[in-house]
């Protein structure tokens, strides 16, 4: 309680509570995350338990439509799987891929950016040219490339087991440049400040200077990019899954659900594609709004 009260009294809390859009976005994100993380306990059905599926209930429309049933609030797909439950489990996969790939991008981008900015010179040129080359490849192309290589290199059954990790690696590797560039720029600013020179004069090891002095001072812009990067990663995952190179159909993500539903869109079963799409859009917009808000609040020049 006291933590909540302290948050409400801080500048951050004030600006949060006084923006309806941001509060709404935070509520959407909270609902989606809770539903996804707690899917095992909260979902009305388990869409992956083949024994519980009723093929007679296939293609049931949403409950409020004619022929709908309240045990399937958002209807079912062609296999009789409950759309709401599938969305909850699918969001879990999407969020996991999103968080993990952002973590991977940060793990690559932050150290490279900091080394680049701190040491400068040749090392800086090499890392940054490498980053610029990487930037000329669209993220989806890199993801397709990595996926293609892994697909040909590994047998099919192994591939479907590690598909999620391939996806995380593909998205993570294609987004590290942003972190590296931002951290490099911030490091250049911090490095020239006198507190860093004081540590150098004292003889502190360069790695410790980067870790203990510079990293805490470059952390807030990284947090902002990470938030926006999370939305980007979720969309990239959905795109790849929609194209069929993402997660396997046995473990559908939001993108996979949309792709499956897409086949039924013109035969009148609109709900199979629409509800996962709405979830995806709501989640991504909300995360983006939160990221924008964080960027504005944490930028001292705008205060």
């Amino acid at each position: 309680m006291s933590i909540l009260r302290r948050f409400a009294n801080s500048d951050l809390g004030y600006s949060f509570l006084h923006s309806r859009v941001v509060v709404a976005a935070a509520i959407v994100v909270a609902v989606v995350v809770v539903a996804a993380v707690g899917a095992d306990a909260l979902a009305p059905h388990n869409p992956f338990d083949l024994a519980s599926l009723e093929l007679f209930d296939a293609l049931t429309p949403p409950a409020w439509e004619a022929g709908g049933q309240w045990i399937y609030p958002l209807g079912t797909d062609d296999q009789g799987r409950d759309v709401l439950s599938a969305i909850m489990y699918g969001t879990r996969v999407s969020l996991m891929v999103g968080f993990a790939s952002v973590a991977l991008s940060m793990a690559i981008g932050i150290p490279l950016g900091m080394i680049s900015g701190y040491f400068g010179g040749m090392l800086d040129s090499v890392i940054m040219r490498f980053a610029e080359i990487q930037l000329t490849f669209p993220a989806i192309l890199i993801a397709l490339l990595i996926d293609g290589i892994v697909r040909t290199a590994l047998p099919r059954d192994i591939h479907s087991d590690i598909a999620v990790f391939v996806l995380i690696a593909a998205i993570g590797f294609s987004n590290w440049v942003q972190y590296a560039r931002t951290v490099r720029g911030m490091t250049l600013v911090e490095r020239s400040k006198e507190y860093v020179q004081a540590a150098q004069v004292t003889g502190v090891h360069p790695l410790l200077i980067m870790l203990r002095h510079i990293l805490p001072n470059v952390a807030s812009p990284v947090l902002v990019i990470a938030t926006i990067g999370l939305a980007l990663a979720i969309v990239t995952e959905a795109t790849l899954s929609f194209l069929g190179v993402g997660v396997p159909p046995t473990q559908p993500s939001l993108g996979t659900l949309i792709r499956i539903g897409n086949d039924f869109l013109f035969s009148g079963e609109w709900w199979i594609a629409t509800f996962p799409s709405v979830t995806l859009v709501a989640l991504v917009i909300s995360v983006n709004l939160l990221g924008d808000w964080l960027r504005d609040v944490l930028n001292p020049r705008l205060n």
Binding site: V201, T202, G203
Partner: protein
């Protein structure tokens, strides 16, 4: 008490704390790789042959206009910049060409720096006690956490703050108090030499005096040696034993502080001293400072001061002057070297 003195006493007594010999520092300003390959290199000679000697327990002050290379000298001595050539003898050991962090570490403990900007020189995300403890931890001077905390508290008291201030963050302090924290950090590793780069120029005049008095008291108490960099001649007069006047990367006049303040010889020293404002004192004959500092990328030929000098002769435009002994101090001036005084 904390660290055994590594120097043999006989050597420690006879060698000056710091000797700088023919120090040079060039910055490469060449923009393009092509220019570099074709040999169109542009250099800024920030320091162009500098000699300084600082005896133990004394203060040597370096003064000059902005951009004359004072701060570069400080940064070359403490090792933030690598000198292009020359020697920096600390206790008789040349540290200018030392490579590697491990080799430098014992010297680093004995040499500290106080910076100009009390707002940028303390990490905003660290508590004051962490900031002050950093040199102690880096050099592994004390065995455990309690001992470090005790030492930090001692240092806080020594610089006129309260032990409880260690728990606060730098933004909770005023500029003068922050400079005290900087001084406490500089003292933490029990150094012999402290390089003070404009330690008071970011402070209010009333606070300046407090900080200078603190520095002077600490010098007496701990036998510290100071290299003081300043553009403020009032500060320098208050503090220094010896004085060096710098112009475009060279010393134009070096000598006893009292002597130089009482009877400046070099035309540039005279100009600087006449620019010191004084309130209500006797009217002093002032020499106006004419012209601007020339571009250090393409310094004037001969004596670099000749375009601004009222006593300029033909020789000054061609041959750079070599410092020579005139009336008890070293002066780099052709006119003074020949006549022993300036024409009236």
């Amino acid at each position: 008490m904390m660290v055994a003195q590594t120097q043999r006493p006989d050597r420690a007594a006879s060698t000056p704390q710091l000797v700088v010999k023919d120090l040079r520092k060039q910055f490469d300003l060449t923009r393009s790789v092509a220019g570099r390959l074709l040999g169109h290199q542009q250099y800024l000679k920030a320091i162009d042959g500098l000699d300084i000697e600082i005896a133990r327990g004394t203060t040597f002050s370096l003064v000059g206009e902005s951009g004359c290379g004072k701060s570069t000298v400080a940064r070359c001595i403490v090792g933030i910049y690598k000198p292009t050539s020359g020697q920096v003898l600390f206790d008789g050991v040349d540290i200018a060409q030392m490579r590697g962090r491990k080799v430098m570490l014992p010297v680093r403990r004995r040499m500290q720096m106080i910076f100009q900007d009390p707002y940028a020189s303390l990490n905003p995300r660290w508590r004051v006690s962490q900031i002050i403890a950093e040199p102690i931890r880096t050099h592994g001077l004390l065995p455990d956490r309690q001992a470090v905390q005790k030492r930090v508290d001692e240092l806080l008291v020594q610089v006129g703050l309260a032990p409880g201030d260690g728990r606060k963050y730098p933004h909770e302090f005023s500029g003068g108090q922050r400079q005290r924290i900087s001084i406490a950090r500089a003292l933490a590793s029990s150094p012999d030499l402290i390089v003070c780069d404009e330690p008071t120029s970011a402070l209010d005049v009333s606070v300046q005096a407090q900080i200078l008095n603190l520095l002077r008291d600490l010098q007496e108490e701990l036998g510290l040696t100071y290299l003081l960099i300043s553009h403020n001649l009032a500060v320098v007069a208050h503090m220094s034993t010896r004085l060096g006047v710098m112009y475009l990367g060279r010393l134009v006049e070096t000598g006893d502080s009292q002597l130089l303040f009482g009877q400046p010889l070099h035309p540039y020293t005279r100009m600087l001293l006449s620019a010191v404002p004084d309130v209500g004192g006797a009217a002093v004959k002032r020499v106006a400072i004419a012209g601007d500092v020339p571009n250090p990328i393409s310094p004037p030929s001969g004596c670099s001061f000749h375009p601004r000098c009222p006593f300029v002769q033909d020789k000054c435009r061609m041959v750079p002057p070599v410092p020579s002994m005139v009336q008890g101090r070293l002066v780099a001036c052709h006119v003074l070297a020949e006549h022993g005084e300036l024409p009236a």
